[in-house]
Assembly symmetry: C2
């Protein structure tokens, strides 16, 4: 199994001193207020934060000393929030596809994880995922995997904002022995990195079929004490629902409700199979749902009732899931798929309009993670997590509506610039961080190591 | 309304003299035989055709005099066939979205067509569509729109292979007065351009709800006489099926069967709402179906039973539909969406594996158009319609299976080279044809002209 030196902890010296600057895009879509599209506007950034959003002419006189970045063909949007992923599984992208869930898991994914998952695997896989996500305009991701400290350290090295799951699962792994061990190790990581400005944490009980009532109770207690989000796979497949009915006498959501987990902290991932009553319950309690359209299709899980969830007032976020079941970490793809699928599922072409998809991919994710005061929209005082998308090329002509183009026509390849907390990470499509230079050699090693488990 | 000088007819002098060459990709996916992935192979091209597919070492000695094109990170595939589009509607990309079908048509699309569609509109819109399609690895498209001669001339100017619908519809337009006029004008275009090696023709009765029995009978007679494919929207929406039941007493497919149109020449576009008996009928008669997943979702038409169609032996092709209802002319997107959707619809992760999606996007389209002896696979004697896809970047690492990557992870932005009949049209992602240079000014004119009809 390949190994490399561990990365240094914490922030790059480049973070320390960033001169203030003005971004002047052709269009600006702040996400808040909803539906707004601004032209001739600029964003002033100082100390990593959005200092002002104002007409470009005013900006040039008020911030005359700031460096000016003119983006004449671009739309500026808030950084995309990938609200559910297993970043390190990027190393298993395309390892096995087109297989029924249990053969996929039992013959390929689980053996690969059993043999190979280590802190080094997670470090390298997460760094790979960060490179991909940054290039596609993702500035923040919500991760759930083994060895969260390794994932967190790679995210910090990459300069990305990230939320890390304090994973809880009842079976042993190279990372931890039992639920108490998982929980203890995760809390330790939180103690160590709790002050990192780019890092946050969720409790992450894996799923109803892999976590006991006792562990869920502990999670509920901790979530209330520490005011942490609870990131859990929920109602992903019919099988999960059936199994809960036979083992617990109730459906998984009702089980979680009885265990005091249905609260505004709940991040229900997938939420494919829901009754109308369950949708009301999620809405009443201020829960968030992370919709993962590509993954739900690829694993044949089904069609989430996103139109109904949104209509009921549930906060909807979007996620890529891991690259083993997608196989992209591409929020442009998820926005498009979510907006299109919602229409066919609801039999209503007005379900999830383009602005709603963009909101889900930004502010929806921020809200789910408890970060809506910090990120998710281009608003004065929030962090300068900004993404410029170049609307050029025959595939984006003509242009009648920039948000329609963002969701239905553009792709992640149109992302040209990415800033996180004011630091430039992508410039004209090129990654700026030298940490990614080692990926080529690392990938070659992992590809050799895992290749024997591939199957299609 | 903007105008420009008409393009010159026929072939560019560049077509005439192309030196023979060898393409040496890292991987070669010929599509025939099914499932094959070759490494260390080369394709020899002479006079626009595939002269040989053979091990690279042999190729270098046998074709030592040929120019060698080494593509060390690339997979070479047959050119993609977009089996259903309305190319000129690229000018209405994003003009209106997120609207119910009738408002979308009545308030935006039809008024725009009524005011603006002309030979010049079709010429410019088709040229724009060709630029987008070439950049995305599409070498052949099957078009249905007004003013097919203008579309055909733009396709020829662009150097693309194309099939043009001899459109038949009962309502008048700027192009033709009635069904007889449409048919007469279309047949005239075929008479004029019948010998063009890059052009072919279909009869294109628009849809069951816009074409009379009398016109369908004429189409059936002509299809049999001339052995032309019959390109028709069919069973796209529940409404269409209901309307046929109330107006004709039978479902549209049964109506076409009675009118002698259910034959191997039938290209049934959409085919969303089908009973098992209808699937058997299509299979028994050797019909082709063009699946348009993005469009079916965006217009909330429903979910086509692609897994069942393929299992029954129906030839499945893929199409983008027009850019007004997609909003991309992107066969990579359609491959991915088709493969993913098929799994969720069938509740079976093995429905439409990656190789099947690639076959549908290439040989499936060729077969539907009656062109399978000429294009659709990398086979000796077929035309050298070839596409190289660069499998590099963090989003495509690691790589365990190139066909999985093509369908699930890569995008059209990874297309680096495109040849049509041996002529290089895209080199390292850059279009080679100077005809596209005029698009910028033309698009600005159309955007102004149509912008007042935009709405979301």
């Amino acid at each position: 199994m390949p190994h490399a030196e561990p990365p240094r902890r914490g922030r790059d010296p480049r973070h320390a001193e960033i001169s203030p600057f003005l971004v002047e895009p052709r269009w600006l879509v702040p996400v808040e207020p909803a539906g707004s599209v601004l032209a001739e506007h600029a964003v002033a950034v100082r100390d990593g934060n959005i200092e002002a959003v104002l007409p470009a002419a005013q900006a040039r006189s008020r911030f005359a000393a700031y460096e000016r970045i003119a983006l004449d063909e671009h739309v500026l949007i808030p950084g995309l929030v990938n609200a559910h992923t297993h970043a390190a599984m990027a190393l298993m992208r395309g390892l096995a596809d087109d297989l029924p869930l249990m053969r996929w898991l039992e013959e390929h994914i689980w053996p690969a994880e059993k043999r190979h998952v280590s802190a080094q695997f997670v470090r390298d896989g997460t760094l790979l995922a960060c490179a991909e996500m940054l290039r596609g305009g993702i500035t923040c991701f919500n991760d759930m995997y083994f060895f969260p400290q390794a994932a967190l350290e790679s995210a910090l090295e990459a300069g990305m904002r990230s939320a890390h799951g304090i994973i809880v699962i009842e079976f042993p792994s190279a990372y931890a022995a039992d639920a108490a061990d998982y929980l203890g190790k995760g809390l330790e990581v939180r103690d160590r990195y709790g002050e990192e400005p780019l890092a946050s944490f969720c409790l992450a009980p894996h799923a109803p079929y892999t976590v006991s009532d006792a562990s869920f109770r502990q999670v509920a207690t901790l979530a209330a004490e520490l005011d942490l989000p609870v990131h859990v796979h929920l109602h992903e497949t019919q099988d999960e629902v059936q199994r809960s009915l036979s083992e617990h006498g109730v459906r998984p959501l009702e089980r979680l409700r009885r265990l005091n987990l249905v609260t505004p902290n709940l991040i229900a991932v997938h939420a494919v199979h829901l009754s109308d009553e369950e949708i009301s319950l999620l809405a009443r309690h201020g829960c968030s749902v992370v919709h993962c359209p590509s993954s739900n299709l690829k694993l044949a899980s089904g069609f989430a009732p996103v139109g109904k969830l949104a209509a009921a007032g549930v906060n909807v976020a979007l996620g890529t899931d891991g690259a083993a079941s997608n196989n992209r970490l591409d929020m442009f793809q998820e926005m498009r798929s979510a907006a299109l699928l919602a229409k066919a599922v609801a039999r209503n072409a007005q379900a999830m309009p383009a602005h709603a998809a963009l909101r889900a991919a930004t502010l929806g994710g921020a809200q789910a993670l408890g970060l809506a005061e910090r990120i998710g929209s281009i608003t004065r005082g929030k962090a300068a997590d900004l993404v410029a998308v170049a609307l050029r090329g025959p595939e984006l002509a003509p242009c009648y509506d920039v948000v329609s183009h963002l969701v239905y026509a553009a792709g992640r390849e149109h992302v040209s610039h990415v800033w996180i907390a004011g630091e430039l990470h992508l410039r004209d499509g090129a990654l700026q961080n030298s940490a990614f230079a080692r990926l080529d050699t690392r990938m070659a090693l992992w590809q050799n190591a895992l290749g024997s488990l591939a199957g299609h």
